[in-house]
């Protein structure tokens, strides 16, 4: 029930992306005596709304949504309105795509409902808006993500080094980091 409510609230924010889908078309049944032809693979570009409800047993979360960075505060606002709390914020570096993914984990006290909100930003100039004015706890998580990945959270009150030494100018969890 909670899941359905938050799904509806967030659905409008989800991005629509061109996703390459591999379709396997089975070969027609071979006539007798003939060898069976291999099934053909067809790659198609399909536009898809990036809002999934994965199998909880397999993945460990109920709702997985990708939003454009600008919509993060709106998503956080509708989550806090429904009583969700923030578990963590983290980044994932994808150098091949030239992107950094910022991942937000939410959970609810009363009913088990884990929501994952993702946003991707450019790897060279990573920036997403802060949600620390909505979830005060996000302040530290965002500082940590800035430390590790160099993601600028615009509007954040203080992005000085947090877990790293005061003079640190490196971002150690980027894949190309060398000590």
């Amino acid at each position: 029930m909670r899941l359905e409510a938050i799904r509806q609230a967030l659905a409008a924010l989800a991005v629509t992306e061109e996703v390459e889908v591999v379709k396997i078309i089975p070969a027609p049944k071979p006539a007798e005596g003939e060898e069976a032809a291999k099934p053909t693979e067809v790659r198609e570009k399909v536009s898809q709304t990036m809002l999934f409800t994965p199998d909880y047993k397999k993945k460990g979360f109920h709702l997985d949504i990708k939003v454009p960075p600008a919509e993060l505060p709106a998503a956080a606002q509708s989550l806090i309105d429904q009583g969700f709390f923030l578990e963590a914020i983290t980044g994932v570096d994808w150098p091949k795509e030239g992107q950094i993914e910022v991942v937000y984990d939410f959970n609810h006290w009363d009913e088990l409902c884990r929501v994952v909100v993702r946003a991707r930003t450019d790897r060279d100039q990573p920036a997403v808006p802060t949600i620390s004015h909505i979830y005060s706890g996000a302040n530290w998580h965002e500082r940590e993500t800035h430390d590790f990945f160099g993601v600028k959270f615009s509007g954040h009150p203080d992005l000085s080094p947090f877990l790293l030494p005061d003079d640190a100018d490196y971002h150690p969890l980027r894949k190309d980091f060398k000590a």
């Binding site: 790293l164 030494p165 005061d166 490196y170 150690p172 980091f177 060398k178 000590a179």
Partner: protein, 165 residues
């Protein structure tokens, strides 16, 4: 802070020095200074079962100015190292350093290629007297380390060595 070269005293009284050494060795005052996991074993060594008081080393002082021994119990990160150095400098002479646990000896499990955060061993910037290996060392090992330090101070061992195996 400026450190002055201290003049060694002109007259040395060998018997007096020895008496002082025995006095110091039998009541070492360690600093209440824990960095990580090893600090818990240090607490355990001071608490009921292992009772470091039996060896006169239970007076844990929170202030470096009242301490003889610094037990470096845990990983020294690059951010923490200046603070550790300051604490060591604030201790009055004579003073000793025990490196407790693998992290304080060599970086332990956290020394790997490409590491960016830790100092690989307390002896990179402190004169370490006794090394106690383990991850973390058992309280008995810490007690043995203290006895070892006593031996270093006085030149002779107060307690018999336990033969193992």
């Amino acid at each position: 802070m400026e450190t002055k070269e201290l003049q060694p005293s002109i007259i040395h009284l060998a018997p007096l020095d020895q008496v002082l050494a025995i006095g110091r060795a039998n009541s070492l005052w360690p600093m209440t200074f824990g960095l990580a996991c090893c600090a818990i074993e240090m607490m355990a060594a001071g608490a009921s079962r292992f009772d470091l008081a039996r060896f006169g080393a239970e007076v844990f002082r929170p202030s470096p100015r009242q301490c003889d021994v610094m037990i470096v119990a845990g990983t020294i990160s690059k951010k923490m190292a200046p603070a550790v150095k300051t604490l060591y400098d604030q201790m009055p002479e004579p003073k000793w350093v025990i490196a407790m646990g693998n992290c304080a000896i060599s970086g332990g499990p956290f020394a790997f290629e490409g590491q960016y955060g830790i100092i690989e061993g307390a002896d990179k910037f402190l004169p370490v007297d006794v090394y106690i290996p383990g991850c973390p060392p058992r309280p008995e090992a810490l007690i043995e380390g203290i006895l070892e330090l006593e031996e270093k101070v006085t030149g002779s061992r107060r307690w018999p060595r336990v033969q193992c195996g």
